[in-house]
Subunit: 234 residues, 2 copies
DNA sequence: ACACAAGCGAAGTGATCGCTCCGTTTTAGC
DNA sequence: GCTAAAACGGAGCGATCACTTCGCTTGTGT
Protein backbone atom coordinates (compact mmCIF):
# COMPACT_ATOMS: atom_id res chain seq x y z
CA UNK A 1 0.00 0.00 0.00
CA UNK A 2 1.45 3.40 -0.97
CA UNK A 3 1.82 5.79 1.98
CA UNK A 4 -0.35 8.46 0.33
CA UNK A 5 -3.07 6.70 -1.70
CA UNK A 6 -4.63 8.91 -4.33
CA UNK A 7 -8.30 9.69 -3.90
CA UNK A 8 -10.75 10.97 -6.45
CA UNK A 9 -11.34 14.08 -4.34
CA UNK A 10 -9.73 17.40 -5.32
CA UNK A 11 -6.01 17.50 -4.50
CA UNK A 12 -5.22 17.97 -0.82
CA UNK A 13 -2.02 19.77 0.21
CA UNK A 14 0.90 17.41 -0.43
CA UNK A 15 1.69 15.34 2.62
CA UNK A 16 -1.51 16.16 4.48
CA UNK A 17 -3.86 13.41 5.51
CA UNK A 18 -6.71 13.45 3.02
CA UNK A 19 -10.26 13.45 4.30
CA UNK A 20 -10.98 9.96 2.93
CA UNK A 21 -7.90 8.68 4.81
CA UNK A 22 -9.16 10.03 8.09
CA UNK A 23 -12.70 8.83 7.50
CA UNK A 24 -11.46 5.35 6.61
CA UNK A 25 -9.35 5.15 9.76
CA UNK A 26 -12.16 6.36 12.01
CA UNK A 27 -14.62 3.96 10.46
CA UNK A 28 -12.22 1.03 10.78
CA UNK A 29 -11.66 1.77 14.45
CA UNK A 30 -15.35 2.23 15.29
CA UNK A 31 -16.46 -0.90 13.45
CA UNK A 32 -14.39 -3.06 15.78
CA UNK A 33 -16.15 -5.49 18.01
CA UNK A 34 -16.54 -4.24 21.58
CA UNK A 35 -13.77 -6.45 22.98
CA UNK A 36 -11.43 -5.48 20.19
CA UNK A 37 -12.13 -1.80 20.76
CA UNK A 38 -11.45 -2.19 24.48
CA UNK A 39 -8.21 -4.06 23.84
CA UNK A 40 -7.07 -1.45 21.35
CA UNK A 41 -7.41 1.25 23.96
CA UNK A 42 -5.69 -0.88 26.58
CA UNK A 43 -2.78 -1.48 24.21
CA UNK A 44 -2.36 2.22 23.51
CA UNK A 45 -2.52 3.10 27.21
CA UNK A 46 0.03 0.39 28.05
CA UNK A 47 2.31 1.45 25.21
CA UNK A 48 2.30 5.08 26.34
CA UNK A 49 3.32 3.98 29.83
CA UNK A 50 5.98 1.53 28.73
CA UNK A 51 7.50 3.84 26.12
CA UNK A 52 7.61 6.65 28.67
CA UNK A 53 9.55 4.44 31.08
CA UNK A 54 11.86 2.49 28.81
CA UNK A 55 11.91 4.40 25.54
CA UNK A 56 10.93 3.13 22.13
CA UNK A 57 13.14 0.05 22.36
CA UNK A 58 10.68 -1.43 24.88
CA UNK A 59 9.48 -4.77 23.55
CA UNK A 60 6.04 -5.43 22.14
CA UNK A 61 5.87 -8.39 24.52
CA UNK A 62 6.07 -6.07 27.51
CA UNK A 63 3.44 -3.76 26.10
CA UNK A 64 1.08 -6.65 25.41
CA UNK A 65 1.63 -8.07 28.87
CA UNK A 66 0.94 -4.75 30.59
CA UNK A 67 -2.16 -4.35 28.44
CA UNK A 68 -3.31 -7.81 29.52
CA UNK A 69 -3.59 -9.14 25.96
CA UNK A 70 -1.63 -11.55 23.81
CA UNK A 71 1.10 -10.26 21.55
CA UNK A 72 -0.85 -11.39 18.50
CA UNK A 73 -3.70 -9.08 19.49
CA UNK A 74 -1.35 -6.13 19.49
CA UNK A 75 -0.30 -6.92 15.94
CA UNK A 76 -3.90 -7.48 14.87
CA UNK A 77 -4.75 -3.89 15.84
CA UNK A 78 -1.50 -2.33 14.65
CA UNK A 79 0.25 -3.64 11.56
CA UNK A 80 3.67 -3.14 13.12
CA UNK A 81 5.36 -1.71 16.18
CA UNK A 82 6.00 1.38 14.10
CA UNK A 83 2.28 1.69 13.39
CA UNK A 84 1.56 1.64 17.11
CA UNK A 85 4.15 4.32 17.71
CA UNK A 86 2.65 6.44 14.96
CA UNK A 87 -0.82 6.19 16.47
CA UNK A 88 0.53 7.48 19.76
CA UNK A 89 2.67 10.15 18.15
CA UNK A 90 -0.26 11.57 16.22
CA UNK A 91 -2.30 12.20 19.35
CA UNK A 92 0.75 13.62 21.12
CA UNK A 93 1.42 16.02 18.26
CA UNK A 94 -2.20 17.11 18.45
CA UNK A 95 -1.63 17.92 22.12
CA UNK A 96 1.41 19.99 21.15
CA UNK A 97 -0.75 21.89 18.67
CA UNK A 98 -3.27 22.55 21.43
CA UNK A 99 -0.56 23.77 23.79
CA UNK A 100 1.06 26.03 21.18
CA UNK A 101 -2.31 27.48 20.17
CA UNK A 102 -3.12 28.16 23.80
CA UNK A 103 0.25 29.90 24.27
CA UNK A 104 -0.49 32.09 21.26
CA UNK A 105 -4.03 32.94 22.33
CA UNK A 106 -3.93 33.06 26.10
CA UNK A 107 -0.38 33.91 27.12
CA UNK A 108 1.10 37.37 27.49
CA UNK A 109 3.11 37.79 24.25
CA UNK A 110 6.07 38.65 26.45
CA UNK A 111 6.27 35.12 27.85
CA UNK A 112 4.55 32.89 25.31
CA UNK A 113 7.86 31.41 24.14
CA UNK A 114 9.01 30.79 27.68
CA UNK A 115 5.79 29.04 28.63
CA UNK A 116 5.80 26.90 25.49
CA UNK A 117 9.43 25.82 25.89
CA UNK A 118 8.99 25.12 29.59
CA UNK A 119 5.92 22.94 29.15
CA UNK A 120 7.42 21.12 26.16
CA UNK A 121 10.65 20.35 27.96
CA UNK A 122 8.75 19.25 31.04
CA UNK A 123 6.78 16.74 28.99
CA UNK A 124 9.89 15.52 27.18
CA UNK A 125 11.77 14.99 30.41
CA UNK A 126 8.96 12.94 31.92
CA UNK A 127 8.55 10.74 28.86
CA UNK A 128 11.51 9.03 27.23
CA UNK A 129 9.27 7.80 24.45
CA UNK A 130 8.17 11.22 23.27
CA UNK A 131 11.79 12.36 23.14
CA UNK A 132 12.92 9.45 20.98
CA UNK A 133 9.81 9.52 18.83
CA UNK A 134 10.49 13.16 18.05
CA UNK A 135 13.69 12.18 16.30
CA UNK A 136 12.49 8.92 14.81
CA UNK A 137 9.04 9.95 13.64
CA UNK A 138 7.65 13.43 14.36
CA UNK A 139 10.26 15.27 12.37
CA UNK A 140 10.55 13.02 9.34
CA UNK A 141 7.50 10.86 8.60
CA UNK A 142 5.63 12.28 5.58
CA UNK A 143 2.21 11.43 7.04
CA UNK A 144 2.85 13.85 9.92
CA UNK A 145 3.65 16.72 7.58
CA UNK A 146 0.44 18.69 8.08
CA UNK A 147 0.81 18.53 11.88
CA UNK A 148 4.45 19.58 11.61
CA UNK A 149 3.48 22.54 9.49
CA UNK A 150 0.80 23.61 11.92
CA UNK A 151 3.18 23.41 14.87
CA UNK A 152 5.79 25.37 12.96
CA UNK A 153 3.28 28.11 12.13
CA UNK A 154 2.27 28.42 15.78
CA UNK A 155 5.89 28.48 16.95
CA UNK A 156 6.67 31.18 14.42
CA UNK A 157 3.74 33.21 15.70
CA UNK A 158 4.94 32.79 19.29
CA UNK A 159 8.42 34.01 18.39
CA UNK A 160 7.09 36.99 16.44
CA UNK A 161 4.89 38.07 19.34
CA UNK A 162 7.79 37.77 21.75
CA UNK A 163 9.95 39.86 19.46
CA UNK A 164 7.22 42.49 19.15
CA UNK A 165 6.99 42.55 22.95
CA UNK A 166 10.75 42.98 23.17
CA UNK A 167 11.46 39.85 25.22
CA UNK A 168 12.85 37.65 22.42
CA UNK A 169 15.98 38.38 20.37
CA UNK A 170 15.30 39.43 16.79
CA UNK A 171 17.29 36.70 15.07
CA UNK A 172 15.27 33.81 16.53
CA UNK A 173 12.84 31.90 14.31
CA UNK A 174 10.07 29.38 14.86
CA UNK A 175 12.28 26.62 13.47
CA UNK A 176 14.74 27.19 16.30
CA UNK A 177 12.30 26.23 19.03
CA UNK A 178 12.38 22.51 18.22
CA UNK A 179 16.13 22.44 18.62
CA UNK A 180 15.93 24.37 21.87
CA UNK A 181 13.37 21.94 23.31
CA UNK A 182 15.75 19.11 22.50
CA UNK A 183 18.63 21.03 24.09
CA UNK A 184 16.63 21.80 27.20
CA UNK A 185 15.51 18.20 27.59
CA UNK A 186 19.00 16.79 27.11
CA UNK A 187 19.77 17.22 30.80
CA UNK A 188 17.26 14.44 31.43
CA UNK A 189 19.51 12.04 29.55
CA UNK A 190 22.25 12.39 32.13
CA UNK A 191 22.50 9.24 34.20
CA UNK A 192 23.07 10.51 37.74
CA UNK A 193 20.87 8.49 40.07
CA UNK A 194 20.43 10.99 42.86
CA UNK A 195 19.95 14.12 40.80
CA UNK A 196 16.86 16.19 41.40
CA UNK A 197 14.19 15.63 38.79
CA UNK A 198 13.78 19.31 37.96
CA UNK A 199 17.43 19.99 37.14
CA UNK A 200 16.32 20.63 33.54
CA UNK A 201 14.84 23.92 34.75
CA UNK A 202 18.34 25.19 35.49
CA UNK A 203 19.60 24.59 31.97
CA UNK A 204 16.42 25.72 30.31
CA UNK A 205 16.87 28.88 32.40
CA UNK A 206 20.28 29.44 30.83
CA UNK A 207 18.82 28.89 27.36
CA UNK A 208 15.96 31.30 28.08
CA UNK A 209 18.49 33.90 29.23
CA UNK A 210 20.23 33.34 25.89
CA UNK A 211 17.00 34.09 24.05
CA UNK A 212 16.60 37.61 25.46
CA UNK A 213 17.67 40.57 23.36
CA UNK A 214 19.93 42.04 26.07
CA UNK A 215 23.18 40.08 25.88
CA UNK A 216 22.62 38.70 22.38
CA UNK A 217 25.60 38.31 20.06
CA UNK A 218 25.43 37.46 16.37
CA UNK A 219 24.40 33.85 15.74
CA UNK A 220 26.20 31.83 13.07
CA UNK A 221 24.97 29.99 11.08
CA UNK A 222 21.48 31.40 10.43
CA UNK A 223 18.31 29.43 11.19
CA UNK A 224 17.57 26.20 9.32
CA UNK A 225 15.24 26.57 6.33
CA UNK A 226 11.49 26.20 6.93
CA UNK A 227 11.24 23.51 4.29
CA UNK A 228 13.47 21.17 6.28
CA UNK A 229 10.59 20.92 8.76
CA UNK A 230 7.79 20.92 6.28
CA UNK A 231 9.21 18.31 3.92
CA UNK A 232 12.35 16.76 5.39
CA UNK A 233 12.41 13.86 2.93
CA UNK A 234 12.07 15.98 -0.23
CA UNK B 1 35.99 -10.23 40.26
CA UNK B 2 35.20 -7.18 42.39
CA UNK B 3 35.37 -3.88 40.50
CA UNK B 4 38.08 -2.46 42.79
CA UNK B 5 40.40 -5.31 43.81
CA UNK B 6 42.38 -4.57 46.96
CA UNK B 7 46.13 -4.43 46.61
CA UNK B 8 48.78 -4.64 49.33
CA UNK B 9 50.10 -1.21 48.37
CA UNK B 10 49.23 1.84 50.49
CA UNK B 11 45.69 3.02 49.93
CA UNK B 12 45.17 4.87 46.66
CA UNK B 13 42.42 7.51 46.40
CA UNK B 14 39.13 5.66 46.35
CA UNK B 15 38.04 4.91 42.80
CA UNK B 16 41.40 5.65 41.19
CA UNK B 17 43.22 2.98 39.26
CA UNK B 18 45.91 1.63 41.54
CA UNK B 19 49.45 1.46 40.25
CA UNK B 20 49.47 -2.35 40.26
CA UNK B 21 46.31 -2.33 38.16
CA UNK B 22 47.87 -0.10 35.54
CA UNK B 23 51.12 -2.02 35.51
CA UNK B 24 49.30 -5.31 35.08
CA UNK B 25 47.29 -3.94 32.17
CA UNK B 26 50.32 -2.48 30.42
CA UNK B 27 52.27 -5.68 30.89
CA UNK B 28 49.46 -7.80 29.54
CA UNK B 29 49.18 -5.65 26.44
CA UNK B 30 52.91 -5.51 25.76
CA UNK B 31 53.47 -9.22 26.23
CA UNK B 32 51.14 -9.97 23.35
CA UNK B 33 52.58 -11.64 20.30
CA UNK B 34 53.25 -9.24 17.45
CA UNK B 35 50.22 -10.27 15.39
CA UNK B 36 47.96 -10.07 18.43
CA UNK B 37 49.26 -6.61 19.27
CA UNK B 38 48.62 -5.46 15.68
CA UNK B 39 45.11 -6.88 15.69
CA UNK B 40 44.33 -5.24 19.02
CA UNK B 41 45.18 -1.85 17.57
CA UNK B 42 43.20 -2.55 14.40
CA UNK B 43 40.16 -3.52 16.48
CA UNK B 44 40.32 -0.31 18.51
CA UNK B 45 40.73 1.82 15.39
CA UNK B 46 37.81 0.06 13.69
CA UNK B 47 35.65 0.34 16.79
CA UNK B 48 36.27 4.09 17.07
CA UNK B 49 35.19 4.51 13.44
CA UNK B 50 32.14 2.28 13.65
CA UNK B 51 30.92 3.68 16.98
CA UNK B 52 31.33 7.21 15.62
CA UNK B 53 29.15 6.39 12.63
CA UNK B 54 26.48 4.14 14.09
CA UNK B 55 26.65 4.71 17.84
CA UNK B 56 27.30 2.13 20.52
CA UNK B 57 24.64 -0.26 19.24
CA UNK B 58 26.90 -1.09 16.29
CA UNK B 59 27.51 -4.84 16.26
CA UNK B 60 30.76 -6.51 17.23
CA UNK B 61 30.54 -8.37 13.92
CA UNK B 62 30.80 -5.11 11.98
CA UNK B 63 33.73 -3.93 14.07
CA UNK B 64 35.58 -7.21 13.58
CA UNK B 65 34.92 -7.12 9.84
CA UNK B 66 36.17 -3.57 9.47
CA UNK B 67 39.23 -4.49 11.51
CA UNK B 68 39.82 -7.43 9.19
CA UNK B 69 39.78 -10.01 11.99
CA UNK B 70 37.40 -12.70 13.16
CA UNK B 71 34.85 -11.93 15.83
CA UNK B 72 36.53 -14.39 18.18
CA UNK B 73 39.74 -12.36 18.02
CA UNK B 74 37.89 -9.30 19.20
CA UNK B 75 36.61 -11.17 22.24
CA UNK B 76 40.05 -12.64 22.91
CA UNK B 77 41.49 -9.11 23.30
CA UNK B 78 38.47 -7.62 25.11
CA UNK B 79 36.45 -9.67 27.55
CA UNK B 80 33.19 -8.08 26.40
CA UNK B 81 31.85 -5.38 24.13
CA UNK B 82 31.66 -3.20 27.21
CA UNK B 83 35.36 -3.76 27.87
CA UNK B 84 36.17 -2.57 24.36
CA UNK B 85 34.05 0.53 24.87
CA UNK B 86 35.78 1.23 28.16
CA UNK B 87 39.23 1.00 26.55
CA UNK B 88 38.18 3.60 23.99
CA UNK B 89 36.43 5.80 26.53
CA UNK B 90 39.49 5.95 28.75
CA UNK B 91 41.70 7.35 26.00
CA UNK B 92 38.96 9.77 24.97
CA UNK B 93 38.59 11.03 28.54
CA UNK B 94 42.35 11.53 28.63
CA UNK B 95 42.00 13.70 25.53
CA UNK B 96 39.29 15.73 27.27
CA UNK B 97 41.66 16.23 30.21
CA UNK B 98 44.33 17.45 27.80
CA UNK B 99 41.92 19.86 26.14
CA UNK B 100 40.59 21.23 29.42
CA UNK B 101 44.11 21.67 30.79
CA UNK B 102 45.12 23.50 27.63
CA UNK B 103 42.08 25.77 27.93
CA UNK B 104 43.06 26.58 31.51
CA UNK B 105 46.72 27.22 30.71
CA UNK B 106 46.75 28.70 27.23
CA UNK B 107 43.40 30.41 26.71
CA UNK B 108 42.50 33.94 27.68
CA UNK B 109 40.50 33.46 30.90
CA UNK B 110 37.76 35.53 29.24
CA UNK B 111 37.06 32.82 26.65
CA UNK B 112 38.32 29.59 28.17
CA UNK B 113 34.80 28.30 28.84
CA UNK B 114 33.66 29.22 25.34
CA UNK B 115 36.60 27.45 23.74
CA UNK B 116 36.17 24.35 25.87
CA UNK B 117 32.44 24.07 25.22
CA UNK B 118 32.87 24.70 21.51
CA UNK B 119 35.53 22.06 21.03
CA UNK B 120 33.70 19.54 23.19
CA UNK B 121 30.43 19.99 21.33
CA UNK B 122 32.24 19.80 18.00
CA UNK B 123 33.72 16.44 18.95
CA UNK B 124 30.42 15.16 20.29
CA UNK B 125 28.57 16.13 17.15
CA UNK B 126 31.08 14.37 14.91
CA UNK B 127 31.06 11.17 16.95
CA UNK B 128 27.81 9.47 17.95
CA UNK B 129 29.76 6.98 20.00
CA UNK B 130 31.34 9.51 22.31
CA UNK B 131 27.94 11.08 22.96
CA UNK B 132 26.31 7.79 23.94
CA UNK B 133 29.33 6.59 25.87
CA UNK B 134 29.18 9.75 27.95
CA UNK B 135 25.81 8.72 29.31
CA UNK B 136 26.45 4.97 29.47
CA UNK B 137 29.99 4.97 30.84
CA UNK B 138 31.91 8.20 31.40
CA UNK B 139 29.56 9.57 34.00
CA UNK B 140 28.84 6.44 35.99
CA UNK B 141 31.51 3.72 35.83
CA UNK B 142 33.49 3.62 39.08
CA UNK B 143 36.79 2.86 37.31
CA UNK B 144 36.61 6.22 35.55
CA UNK B 145 36.19 8.13 38.78
CA UNK B 146 39.69 9.63 38.92
CA UNK B 147 39.40 10.93 35.37
CA UNK B 148 35.97 12.35 36.10
CA UNK B 149 37.31 14.16 39.13
CA UNK B 150 40.20 15.61 37.17
CA UNK B 151 37.90 16.86 34.42
CA UNK B 152 35.58 18.38 36.99
CA UNK B 153 38.46 20.20 38.68
CA UNK B 154 39.59 21.66 35.37
CA UNK B 155 36.07 22.71 34.39
CA UNK B 156 35.63 24.38 37.76
CA UNK B 157 38.90 26.26 37.23
CA UNK B 158 37.75 27.38 33.76
CA UNK B 159 34.48 28.70 35.14
CA UNK B 160 36.19 30.53 38.00
CA UNK B 161 38.62 32.23 35.62
CA UNK B 162 35.79 33.27 33.36
CA UNK B 163 33.90 34.69 36.32
CA UNK B 164 37.01 36.59 37.47
CA UNK B 165 37.36 37.97 33.95
CA UNK B 166 33.72 39.03 34.03
CA UNK B 167 32.59 37.01 30.99
CA UNK B 168 30.80 34.21 32.85
CA UNK B 169 27.76 34.63 35.11
CA UNK B 170 28.49 34.18 38.77
CA UNK B 171 26.04 31.37 39.47
CA UNK B 172 27.62 28.91 37.02
CA UNK B 173 29.66 25.97 38.32
CA UNK B 174 32.02 23.43 36.79
CA UNK B 175 29.37 20.74 37.19
CA UNK B 176 27.11 22.66 34.81
CA UNK B 177 29.46 22.41 31.84
CA UNK B 178 28.77 18.70 31.24
CA UNK B 179 25.06 19.37 30.95
CA UNK B 180 25.67 22.30 28.63
CA UNK B 181 27.85 20.19 26.33
CA UNK B 182 25.04 17.67 26.12
CA UNK B 183 22.55 20.46 25.43
CA UNK B 184 24.74 21.99 22.74
CA UNK B 185 25.29 18.64 21.05
CA UNK B 186 21.61 17.71 21.07
CA UNK B 187 21.03 19.58 17.82
CA UNK B 188 23.11 16.87 16.15
CA UNK B 189 20.46 14.33 17.08
CA UNK B 190 17.88 16.03 14.89
CA UNK B 191 17.19 13.92 11.84
CA UNK B 192 16.94 16.46 9.03
CA UNK B 193 18.85 15.11 6.04
CA UNK B 194 19.75 18.37 4.31
CA UNK B 195 20.67 20.41 7.38
CA UNK B 196 24.07 22.04 7.50
CA UNK B 197 26.52 20.13 9.63
CA UNK B 198 27.48 23.15 11.75
CA UNK B 199 23.95 24.06 12.85
CA UNK B 200 25.04 23.16 16.40
CA UNK B 201 27.05 26.40 16.44
CA UNK B 202 23.82 28.38 16.31
CA UNK B 203 22.37 26.74 19.42
CA UNK B 204 25.64 26.67 21.28
CA UNK B 205 25.75 30.40 20.49
CA UNK B 206 22.43 30.87 22.25
CA UNK B 207 23.67 28.88 25.25
CA UNK B 208 26.89 30.93 25.37
CA UNK B 209 24.84 34.12 25.32
CA UNK B 210 22.94 32.67 28.26
CA UNK B 211 26.19 32.18 30.16
CA UNK B 212 27.17 35.85 30.13
CA UNK B 213 26.50 37.98 33.18
CA UNK B 214 24.58 40.66 31.25
CA UNK B 215 21.06 39.30 30.80
CA UNK B 216 21.31 36.69 33.55
CA UNK B 217 18.23 35.96 35.65
CA UNK B 218 18.13 33.81 38.76
CA UNK B 219 18.57 30.10 38.01
CA UNK B 220 16.40 27.55 39.81
CA UNK B 221 17.30 24.95 40.97
CA UNK B 222 20.93 25.46 41.98
CA UNK B 223 23.78 23.43 40.48
CA UNK B 224 23.96 19.66 41.02
CA UNK B 225 26.24 18.56 43.86
CA UNK B 226 29.87 17.84 43.07
CA UNK B 227 29.64 14.38 44.54
CA UNK B 228 27.14 13.31 41.90
CA UNK B 229 30.00 13.52 39.42
CA UNK B 230 32.70 12.18 41.64
CA UNK B 231 30.82 9.17 42.91
CA UNK B 232 27.50 8.76 41.07
CA UNK B 233 26.94 5.21 42.30
CA UNK B 234 27.47 5.95 45.98
C1' DA C 1 65.22 -25.88 12.34
C1' DC C 2 61.95 -27.23 15.37
C1' DA C 3 58.46 -27.67 19.06
C1' DC C 4 54.81 -25.72 21.14
C1' DA C 5 52.30 -22.20 23.15
C1' DA C 6 49.74 -18.47 21.47
C1' DG C 7 46.70 -16.74 18.10
C1' DC C 8 43.46 -17.38 14.64
C1' DG C 9 38.49 -17.52 12.36
C1' DA C 10 34.37 -20.32 10.71
C1' DA C 11 30.77 -22.23 12.74
C1' DG C 12 27.93 -22.61 16.51
C1' DT C 13 24.91 -21.25 21.10
C1' DG C 14 21.39 -19.32 23.59
C1' DA C 15 18.74 -15.19 24.28
C1' DT C 16 15.76 -11.73 22.50
C1' DC C 17 13.49 -9.24 19.05
C1' DG C 18 9.38 -8.17 15.82
C1' DC C 19 6.00 -10.71 13.88
C1' DT C 20 2.74 -14.86 12.41
C1' DC C 21 0.01 -19.46 12.41
C1' DC C 22 -3.72 -21.78 13.90
C1' DG C 23 -6.95 -24.07 16.97
C1' DT C 24 -10.09 -22.09 20.48
C1' DT C 25 -13.26 -18.68 22.50
C1' DT C 26 -16.26 -14.66 22.30
C1' DT C 27 -19.33 -11.43 20.29
C1' DA C 28 -23.32 -9.91 17.49
C1' DG C 29 -27.28 -10.38 14.28
C1' DC C 30 -31.28 -13.05 13.58
C1' DG D 1 -30.30 -19.58 21.47
C1' DC D 2 -27.91 -20.46 17.45
C1' DT D 3 -24.45 -19.62 14.05
C1' DA D 4 -21.01 -17.41 11.48
C1' DA D 5 -17.71 -14.08 11.66
C1' DA D 6 -14.54 -11.81 14.43
C1' DA D 7 -11.16 -11.81 17.97
C1' DC D 8 -8.30 -14.27 20.92
C1' DG D 9 -3.51 -16.06 22.71
C1' DG D 10 0.08 -19.74 23.04
C1' DA D 11 3.50 -21.50 20.45
C1' DG D 12 6.63 -20.93 16.93
C1' DC D 13 9.51 -18.50 12.99
C1' DG D 14 13.45 -16.18 11.14
C1' DA D 15 16.74 -12.62 12.07
C1' DT D 16 20.08 -10.57 14.96
C1' DC D 17 22.75 -9.94 18.91
C1' DA D 18 26.90 -10.78 22.18
C1' DC D 19 29.70 -14.32 23.01
C1' DT D 20 32.12 -19.43 22.74
C1' DT D 21 34.04 -23.77 20.86
C1' DC D 22 37.40 -26.08 18.37
C1' DG D 23 40.50 -27.60 14.85
C1' DC D 24 43.98 -25.26 12.15
C1' DT D 25 47.90 -21.73 11.62
C1' DT D 26 51.68 -18.84 12.98
C1' DG D 27 55.06 -16.47 15.63
C1' DT D 28 58.86 -17.28 18.91
C1' DG D 29 62.49 -19.03 22.19
C1' DT D 30 65.87 -22.40 21.97
Amino acid sequence: MPPEPQSTAPAAPAGALTLPDIAATEERVHNLRADAQRNRERIIAAAVEVFAEHGLEASTAEIAERAGVGEATLFRRFASKDDLIMAIVETQMDEVIELAADCVENSDPADGVERFLTEMVEHSVADRGVLEATKDACMVKPELQSRRREILNLMTELVKRGQAAGTIRGDLTGQDLGFLISAGASAAGMPFPGIRADIWKRYLGIILDGLRPEGATKLRPGPPARRLFEDPAG
